[in-house]
Symmetry: C2
């Protein structure tokens, strides 16, 4: 099937959302945990976490428009300067998915979706206890993407927790870590490792 | 295993690269195809393609620092205003991986890594013929991420090609599309669909 720009514009809103949200390929499945100044926690699923650099260790994610209706995640990050990113595992994909409901600010998705808050090393933002691979993040900056009024939220990893069993031959194995991926808005995938290749130097490229 | 910020700083460069590049979870595996004004093509693997919005249909990816040593991909995109994003499938993960070598500008990775150029609908940038899920992208803007001198390259989807068989019950199925994911710098994963949930309205959230 081939869609031109005009075909995409003519799609109904839901069909367009489903197709364009799948276009990148598989997306990482993470829950972002935050807390506001009144100690109200919040938890929300994000599929847009992206690696920005390793030194310093920086990750980004895309947040919806900065309006009064903006998500509680972004508001809490600006308020407190910290957040957690927690991998989603198959055992709680349903709980994680339903954090995407637009609950009132007084409702903690931890409680409503039956996931457990965990506090590690005096880090103020709540981790997800059920997640075995998670990070405490320090907010660095919010970069405007003006064309569609979204924001790239940049943060630095301050705490990194991962299962010992996920490190295989010096590398992180996401199948062993039991991490999952997302396509579109509502489909979840498990991972099966199918290949591993060395860091590439020009002289070592095989003949194809 | 728990790493603090100080532990991460103390890691040797390769260990840090491997771990921090896996921290987001699974990443999409794409080849970006470009061409310069001398009609020299270029193909490079990227795991940082991220969905920015569906209307207009915008995707981003992270490019290395804007220096004279910058990748040919970024240079060609600025020169021509267009590029292609092509999903990687299991049959050519090895070919795709080796496009990451720093070949001389006169070497086309299409040729060196045995992948085929394909031109669709007069779009100037080359698609990867072996990929069944691919997009022709129009460059929109490059947004500086100053803290580590990287760039978020923003583009709009102008052509979207995907296999009819990947659309199941109105949704894109990336297992059926045979798309793959990446962790770290060199591990590849196939996908198995394990769950599908509806768009969430607060009133429809089940009890957990």
């Amino acid at each position: 099937m081939i869609y031109t720009k005009e075909d995409i514009e003519k799609l109904d809103r839901i069909s367009r959302l489903k197709i364009i949200n799948s276009a990148t390929g598989i997306k990482p499945a993470n829950l972002i945990g935050t807390i506001n100044k009144e100690n109200q926690t919040n938890l929300a699923i994000f599929s847009s976490v992206v690696h920005l650099g390793s030194n310093p260790p920086l990750l980004g994610f895309i947040s919806r428009p900065r309006t009064t209706d903006a998500g509680h995640t972004y508001h809490n990050i600006i308020e407190n300067g910290c957040y957690t990113i927690n991998h989603i595992h198959p055992e709680f994909i349903k709980n994680a998915h339903y954090t995407s409901a637009k609950f009132h600010v007084d409702v903690s998705e931890f409680n409503r979706c039956n996931l457990s808050e965990e506090y590690i090393n005096d880090f103020i933002a709540p981790f997800v206890a059920e997640s075995t691979f998670k990070m405490g993040m320090r907010f660095v900056e919010a970069i405007d993407i003006k064309i569609n009024n979204t924001v790239l939220v940049v943060g630095e990893i301050e705490h990194l927790i991962l299962p010992d069993t996920s490190i295989i031959a010096g590398d992180v194995d996401l199948e062993a870590a039991n991490s999952v991926g997302i396509s579109g808005l509502n489909s979840y995938y498990s991972l099966k490792k199918i290949g591993n290749f060395p860091y590439v130097r020009v002289k070592e490229v095989p003949e194809f």
